[in-house]
Symmetry: C2
Subunit: 261 residues, 2 copies
Amino acid sequence: MNYSQMDPAEVRRLIREGEITGPTSGMCAGYAQANLVILPKDLAYDFLLFTQRNQKSCPILEVSDMGSRSLKYIANNVDIAKDIPKYRVYEDGILTGEYTSVEHLWRDNFVSFLIGCSFSFESELLEAGISIRHIEENCNVPMFKTNIECEPAGIFNGKMVVSMRPIPYDQIVKSVMVTGTMPKVHGAPIHIGDPSVIGISDVTKPDFGDSVQIKEGEVPVFWPCGVTPQSVVMNVKPKIVITHSPGHMLITDVKNVDLKY
Amino acid sequence: MNYSQMDPAEVRRLIREGEITGPTSGMCAGYAQANLVILPKDLAYDFLLFTQRNQKSCPILEVSDMGSRSLKYIANNVDIAKDIPKYRVYEDGILTGEYTSVEHLWRDNFVSFLIGCSFSFESELLEAGISIRHIEENCNVPMFKTNIECEPAGIFNGKMVVSMRPIPYDQIVKSVMVTGTMPKVHGAPIHIGDPSVIGISDVTKPDFGDSVQIKEGEVPVFWPCGVTPQSVVMNVKPKIVITHSPGHMLITDVKNVDLKY
């Protein structure tokens, strides 16, 4: 099946029916995909305030109504407990299971946070003629913990996680301009060049994802990463939190280009 | 005194000491001013979610920690209970008093929301050579209730309020481009032209503020307005809510140009 050219509603149906259980990268070209964090309502205010204070790493696309499994803005006819190919469930900070549906775990006090994903700006970078190394190398983007403290909010605090893409000198400005137009999906880089400035001691040893080659004449460019909110939530070890499994995103009905406005 | 060229910290000191009790328009040129809504914590989640869903009319600059009278991000050494020249207190939806300080009313469960203000983009429009009629006519900007439904969140819902500025045909595009770079202070217009399209029956009879002249060859241009959040809060008649008095804003340490990034 060529999922790249399919409609988001159709692919979500296949996911809901268990026909698709793998990563969503490359599916429904041109449409935004979203990270998921589901929390009980008693943590939702602090988390929403955290995202408000840290919009670069935690750009909110939608927050569901409490208890609701549907969304109102970024996708139609969603069942958020079923429409992601793989979920992770953490209890007291420990991964207790991966599921293709979390219907059996659903609670009336759950609030779902859908957070922008760098897939959207990568598609714009490619359109602008900027190659993306981890796509060329067919692996996951390298991600690093930094020394950049997030702005704390209530019980939530922690360091920013960044993703890294090597960019040739003559495309650095363009890569800033292109991603800078998309603040709802992390926006412009947070750092360009010397990794040690943001507390990264070895750029060949990412904390998450895979290592990629940095060629002669290329500079490591770092963007705020959607792993930040998950990492910050894990810090406080909530009784229960449900997230997507890495790479297994919600495919939305929102076109990437519409995230610019 | 020439407050226009003074430092925000110095003007806030004069306000705190009761030396300034009037409107802040024109003070501390180049620095952003902010709208204020203070609510008890039990309403704060719904209101924060409302602002997240209605960012054009309710662009949040900062949300205080519960009970705190200081701010962390947009201004230093603030006492939010004293540093605004005039406050309004509403109880059960009724205006019960105007005060130059609300220290005596402060509660440990208060949360302060500081919301972007169109003074910031007006200063950019003027820089770009676009005249602003209500400044020329030395009156308040005309504001209108529209038929545009805000996205509801919890107990909060209502119509968007807009401000109107007449713009000559040959400056409309420029006015969109200039304000579009400043989404944290309402951003681009929400409507250009025929007022009836957004439910305004008589553009010479504003619901708030003053009427201004629309000259031959000018078009009414409408921007989302910071009166929206106040109007929505009043709809639900909370036990207590404190706001700034119209035109009596918080002067921040943030330069208008920095609201672009």
